[in-house]
C-alpha cells in the first residue's frame, strides 16, 4: 500500500446483475487517501438501483491500490446492508482488507456507550441552563460554607495543612505580585491625574488633582485593580493547579487519606490572599499617589511638598480603611472562585483550561458587583 508512483487511477464502480436479487459490485482503480474516491455514499448509491437486492458479491480484481479509506467505506456499506437487508459476500475483497474488516467488527459495539448527539430544543436547553445555574449557585454557597468552617477551624488552631504550602502561597500572592501591581497602580494614578487636570486646570484648581487621585485610589481603585490583577494572576493559577490535581487523582488521594481538601488546599490559598490583599492594596495606594504626583509635579507645576500636604490633608483614615476592608473581601472572592472552579474541574486538559477561564470571569464579575453594593451601602450610611 505504498503511495502510487504515477498519478492515481480514478475509482470505477460497476454493479452487474448476476440473477434475481443478486449482483456483483465491480470496483477498480486506486481507492486511496491521496486520490478522490466516491466515498461510502458513492458505494451506497452504486448498490441502490431500485430493484431489491438481497445478496451482493465483490469483484476487486481491477482494484490496484487501496488503503484504510477503502475499508472504512466498505464498513459503511455493510452497515447500510444490515439496515436494508442486503447481505454482502466478502470473499471478493482483497485479503488484507477482509482481515482489517474482521478486526474492526471483532469487538461488538458497546451497548449504551455511544453518545447521542441530537441537539436538544430551545426550551430544553433553556431549562437545562436554568437548572445548571441553580446548581452552580448552590455549589458556590455550600463551598463558601465549607470554606468558612475551614477558616473557623484555623482560627481555633485545629485546621490541618502544611505550613510550607502557606508560605509558598504567601510568597506567590505577595512579593511576586508586586511588579504588576506597581505598574498598573502607577498608570491608574497617572490616568486619574490627567482626567482631573482637564477639568480642574481651567479653574486654576489643579492642586485638587492630589485630592482626586488619593481619594479615588484609597476608596476604590487600589482595591479593585489589585483584586482584578489577582483574579487574573492568582485566581487562574489556583483553578489550574487544583484542576490538574483533580485530573491526576491527587485530590482523591487526599480524600481517601482523610485529608479535607478544603483545609489542605483551599485554606492556605485563602489565607494567603486574605493576608496579602490588604498589603498589596496599601502598596497600590502609594504607587497610585506616586503616579498622580508625577503628573502634578511634572505637568501642573505643583511642588512635591504641596502635593504631599494636599494628599495628606484630603485623605482620611476612613477612606483608606474602606479600601482595605474591601480588599479582604476581594481576596476571599478570588480564592474561593479559583479553588471552587479548580475542584469542580473535569478530568481533561481542556476542562482545566475552562476552569481557569471561568474562575477569572466569575471573580471579576463578583468583585465589581460586590464593589457596587459596597458603594451604595456606604453612600446610604454617609461614610
Amino acid at each position: 500500500m505504498l503511495p502510487a508512483q504515477t498519478s492515481p487511477d480514478p475509482v470505477r464502480l460497476d454493479l452487474r446483475s448476476t440473477g434475481t436479487g443478486t449482483a456483483t459490485l465491480v470496483i477498480g482503480g486506486d481507492w486511496i487517501l491521496e486520490a478522490p474516491t466516491p466515498g461510502h455514499s458513492g458505494l451506497v448509491k452504486a448498490v441502490s438501483t431500485g430493484t431489491a437486492l438481497t445478496a451482493i458479491a465483490f469483484d476487486t480484481t481491477g482494484l490496484s491500490d487501496w488503503d484504510s479509506t477503502f475499508v472504512t467505506a466498505i464498513l459503511h456499506l455493510v452497515q447500510h446492508g444490515d439496515d436494508s437487508g442486503i447481505r454482502f459476500d466478502m470473499d471478493g475483497l482483497p485479503q488484507g482488507a477482509r482481515r482489517l474488516i474482521d478486526l474492526a467488527t471483532a469487538v461488538p459495539e458497546r451497548q449504551g456507550a455511544r453518545r447521542r448527539s441530537e441537539r436538544p430544543g430551545l426550551l430544553t436547553r433553556l431549562g437545562g441552563q436554568v437548572i445548571e445555574t441553580g446548581r452552580d449557585t448552590m455549589a458556590f454557597i455550600s463551598f463558601m460554607g465549607e470554606a468558612t468552617i475551614a477558616l473557623g477551624r484555623f482560627l481555633v488552631g485545629r485546621a490541618r495543612f502544611r505550613r510550607v504550602d502557606l508560605m509558598a502561597m504567601i510568597e506567590d500572592c505577595g512579593v511576586r505580585a508586586l511588579p504588576i501591581v506597581s505598574l498598573i497602580s502607577v498608570l491608574i494614578g497617572l490616568i486619574l491625574a490627567f482626567v482631573g487636570a482637564i477639568q480642574l486646570r481651567p479653574f486654576g484648581a489643579q492642586i485638587y488633582v492630589a485630592d482626586l487621585v488619593s481619594i479615588a485610589m484609597a476608596r476604590e481603585m487600589a482595591a479593585i485593580m489589585t483584586g482584578i490583577i489577582m483574579a487574573g494572576r492568582t485566581g487562574a493559577a489556583f483553578a489550574a493547579q487544583l484542576g490538574t490535581m483533580q485530573v491526576n487523582e491527587e485530590i482523591d488521594a487526599f480524600r481517601t487519606l482523610g485529608f479535607d481538601p478544603m483545609e489542605f488546599l483551599v485554606l492556605p490559598r485563602m489565607l494567603a490572599l486574605i493576608l496579602m490583599m490588604p498589603l498589596l492594596t496599601i502598596y497600590s495606594n502609594v504607587m497610585g499617589i506616586l503616579g498622580g504626583a508625577i503628573v502634578g509635579v511634572g505637568m501642573l507645576g505643583l511642588t512635591p511638598t504641596e502635593y504631599y500636604l494636599e494628599t495628606a490633608l484630603s485623605t482620611t483614615l476612613t477612606d483608606l480603611s474602606l479600601g482595605i476592608i474591601k480588599s479582604v473581601f476581594f481576596g476571599i472572592i478570588v480564592a474561593i472562585t479559583g479553588c471552587l472552579k479548580g475542584i469542580q474541574s473535569g478530568r481533561s486538559a481542556s476542562a482545566v483550561g475552562d476552569a481557569a477561564t471561568s474562575a477569572v470571569v466569575m471573580a471579576i464579575v463578583m468583585i465589581i458587583v460586590f464593589d457596587g453594593i459596597f458603594a451604595v451601602v456606604t453612600n446610604i450610611l454617609g461614610i
Binding site: 451497548q111 480524600r255 481517601t256
Partner: protein, 276 residues
Amino acid sequence: MPEKTPGKTPQIIVDDLTLAYGDFVIQKNLSFTVDHGDIFIIMGGSGCGKSTVLKSLIGLKPPAAGTVRYARGEFWPAAPATREAMMRGFGVLYQSGALWSSMTLAENVGLPLGEYTDLPPADIRDLAAMKLALVGLSGFEDYYPSEISGGMQKRAGIARAMALDPAILFFDEPSAGLDPLSSKRLDDLILELRDSLDTTIVVVTHELDSIFAIGNNSIFLDAVTKTAIASGNPKDLRDHGSNAEVRDFLNRGRSAQPQEVSMPSDSPTRPGMARP
C-alpha cells in the same frame, strides 16, 4: 449474606452493587466477599469498570444501588463521617499514581505519617525512606514526582499507600508499566505485605503472571453483560472454569504454543526499567 467459612472472617461484603455514571450503567448486581488475608483480584477487559468498582469500595463513588460492608460496619450507605473514618484505614494506589506533585517522594509518604502519628520529623523521614526502599526507590527521597519515570511513580504510590500500615490495601493496576523483574518483585512484595502485616489486599490487574502468583480469590467483570461472570480462585477459573470467555482470558499468552499473530502493541519487547 455469604456464610462464614471456619477460619475466615469476611473483611468486605459487597451485595448487589450497581454502578453508573448518570444513566450509563457500568456494572450491576455485583456481589462478592473479600475475606481477611485474601489477595482479591478484580479482573476483566479494559474499560469494563474495574477502576469504577474500586472507587466505590474506597468511598469515592457512590453506588447507584446495593451495599458495601466492611468488618467495622456499613460503608455504603452510611453517614459521610462514618465513611471518612473508615477510609482512613485504607491504603490506595491509584491507576495514575496520584502522587502529590508539589511534594517530594519522602514528603508524599511522610505526610499521612505526620498527620496521624506523633512521630518526630526525623523518624517520619526514616520511615518514609524505608517504605520507599521497600519498593526499590531508595535514594529518590528528595525527587519530585515529575522527575521520575511513570513506573517509579507507580512504586512511589505503593509506598504512600503502605505509609500507615493500613488493614486493607487497594491497588489499581500496580504492575502496569513495570519491567518484568520489578513486576515480579512487586508480586513478592504484595505477598510479603499480606503475610507480615496481616493485610487484606484488593488488586485490579490484568497481568496474568501477577494474577496467578498472588491471587487467591477473584472476580471477573464483563463489559457486555455488565456484571461478574466468574469468581473464585484464578487458577481454578483457568483450569476448570465453566465460562469459556474467562478461561480464554486467563490462558491467553501463557499457552506453550507459539503466539498467534497479535497486535503490535502486544510486542514482548517492553522497554525494561533500569532499577536505581
